[in-house]
Amino acid sequence: MRLDRTRRRAPIAMVVAVVATVLSLVSAATTREGVALSIAFDLAIACVTTLSLPDLKSSHPVVSRAALTLLALDVAIFITFFLNSSTNFNLATGAAMSIVLLGLSFLTGASGQISLGNGAFMGVGAFAMAIWSNHHATTPIFLTLLIAVACGALVGLLLGLPATRLRGPYLAGMTLAFAVAFTFILSSFNSWTGGDSGLQLPTEATAPRWLDGFFHAGTSPLTTTTLYITDFSIIVAGVAFFFMANLFASRTGRAMRLIRDNDVAAELVGISLPRTRVAAFIVSSAYAALGGALLTLINNSVSPQTYSFALSVTILSLIVIGGIGTISGAVIGGIIYAFSTNAISWITTQTGLNPQGNFASQLNGIIFGGLLILTMLFAPLGIAGALRHLWSRIRSRT
């Protein structure tokens, strides 16, 4: 009985949420913050109402995830209206990075394998984005992003096909070789990739006209663009997270986790090991490419030096510290990435190190490498795992 009621109420609540959003958007006439506040408020109420429905999680898991994603997006976007440009810019790169991290987290969480080349896959997406926009400037952004994702998936298929069939560290080693090779690949195609100086996007990503007034801060065009691109990145990340959460819970996702835990059992119940593993790797590469393409959009340019082996290693560190194999770990890792540069320069000034000195310039590597080792030895599920553990202890006490 209770379940039936939920079944009927959940979609209705969602419709209410969407209608409330549309109404708020249409009535966008007063001050920017005022409108933002009203939208955020409407949306938050709708989402919370939806989420509070009994048994929603079990009866309509997709709706529940959508509401959760919408709520998170709502809060995040609302916050960006009150932050300065440089913080927003950091958040935007953090959002792009969290997509990459999510892909890697999925690969490991789903198939038990690991990629050391996601920085290079990011580069594939980043350059695909820049090259395509330079040749076809009129293509809508969404389409260009999809093309970049397709390029990442294709390269993933090429590398994943031989490596994922094997047990052992072949995928890790091969992706490492790819990451090391990537800068050479870029300079082999100088005429396409722009050589050492990289590529600029032909036009800056600006808000579509019907939204322009909403993002217009009245201070400078730069602030407006940054705010728009930040919110755009956050929304793309939200959509990516929503799809991944569903994939994690789907039949394919369960098959992948079974492979990770016991590949022999998985084979016995009729799961094709090679096919599923390759699929997981392709998804992870495509997500990395999406993150890279988004980063090109945020920076308005792409430079080959960004996509060195060091980036792949940074990605690995971030997701391990955040919590590998978890979805929330990717969010945590993205936030860490967004503010790591600031945090490290803060440490440098606090400890009185010479900012141009050898030690200060290596602080990043020492801290991330050290945290990587310590996390893996003492808390293999990272911050997300630690929080989950803490949460379950609190719940069991009450």
């Binding site: 050391l116 096909l161 020492i366 490498g369 080792i373 030895l377």
Partner: protein, 299 residues
């Protein structure tokens, strides 16, 4: 003299042999650790790099090249042993990715610490032999006293490792504890110590490789000196089969020669791309490596 020795093909083979021996040694050190402990050591380039920096720190105390090399090897023994005892030992029996991640973390830390102490600018080491190619009738052949030193040392190290494993009691114990640790333990083999010894041995092979690479006049020593070489070493080990030391060496040497041909006939950038393509093709055709027998896995 006949122009044979200065012909393009022979020059490429000789030039490639030098790199090939280096790749073969890296591949060998990877295989040694993989076979004995089931860890693919991603810090296999960084650990020896660090030991080489430590050893050559003696240069500022007016020691010569050879005492420094000895110091490097001692540092390598220490680093290898300590790494196994303090870091790797905690990872046996854990999921496959744990040791990978930890060793990658170790790689980052070692490279960062080395750059913090000694800066990331290339440091030129004294070279015991001249790097200028010998001339034959006015044309250079792709051999210099230094490359002969490299090739000879490499072959010597490989032979020494082979002899150790094949013909000594220690080698037998090392092999036994790698193949069947439980049985070996029951038969009185100190497996734990042998694993440490295996890591020390493999690090020393790496140190000798790094010393050869970085005392080359044209490269010098940098914290990242082994990154690219590690990638080629892994490709060689994977093509040869991670289970087969001989396969790793042969694949390494052939890869070096192939690279030289690609450099000569295509360009420098294409080298690692072709190497990657070779790896993909060889894994497609013979997943377990060209030089290993296929084995069934038991559940």
């Amino acid at each position: 003299m006949d122009p044979f020795l200065t012909s393009r093909i022979v020059t490429d083979v000789l030039g490639g042999l030098t790199n090939g021996v280096i790749y073969g040694m890296v591949a060998l050190s990877l295989v040694l650790i993989w076979r004995s402990t089931g860890v693919l050591n991603f810090a296999q380039g960084a650990m020896p790099m660090f030991a080489t920096y430590v050893g050559f720190a003696l240069l500022s105390y007016h020691f010569g090249y050879w005492p420094c090399v000895v110091a490097c090897i001692i540092a390598g023994l220490l680093i290898g042993g300590l790494t196994e005892r303090l870091l790797v030992r905690r990872l046996y029996g854990k999921p496959e990715i744990n040791p990978i991640v930890v060793m990658v973390g170790f790689l980052i830390v070692l490279e960062a610490v080395a750059a913090a102490i000694w800066s990331s600018f290339p440091r030129s080491l004294p070279s015991p032999f001249s790097s200028i190619d010998w001339q034959l009738a006015g044309k250079p052949i792709a051999l210099s006293p230094f490359t002969v030193y490299e090739i000879a040392t490499g072959l010597l190290v490989m032979t020494a490792v082979a002899v150790l494993f094949r013909f000594t009691k220690l080698g037998l114990q090392l092999r036994a504890s790698a193949v069947a640790p439980e049985v070996s333990r029951l038969l009185g083999v100190r497996v734990g110590r042998l694993l440490t010894l295996g890591w020390m041995l493999s690090t020393v092979v790496g140190v000798i490789t790094t010393v050869l690479v970085s005392s080359n006049f044209f490269t010098g020593l940098t914290p990242q000196v082994m990154d690219g070489i590690f990638a080629f070493g892994f490709i060689a080990a994977a093509i040869g089969g991670l289970e087969s030391p001989v396969g790793a060496i042969i694949a390494g040497i052939l890869l070096g020669i192939a690279n030289q041909f690609v450099t000569d006939f295509v360009n420098q950038n294409a080298v690692i791309i072709i190497a990657l393509a070779l790896l993909i093709v060889s894994l497609m055709i013979r997943p377990s490596g060209v030089f290993t027998k296929r084995t069934e896995r038991r559940v």
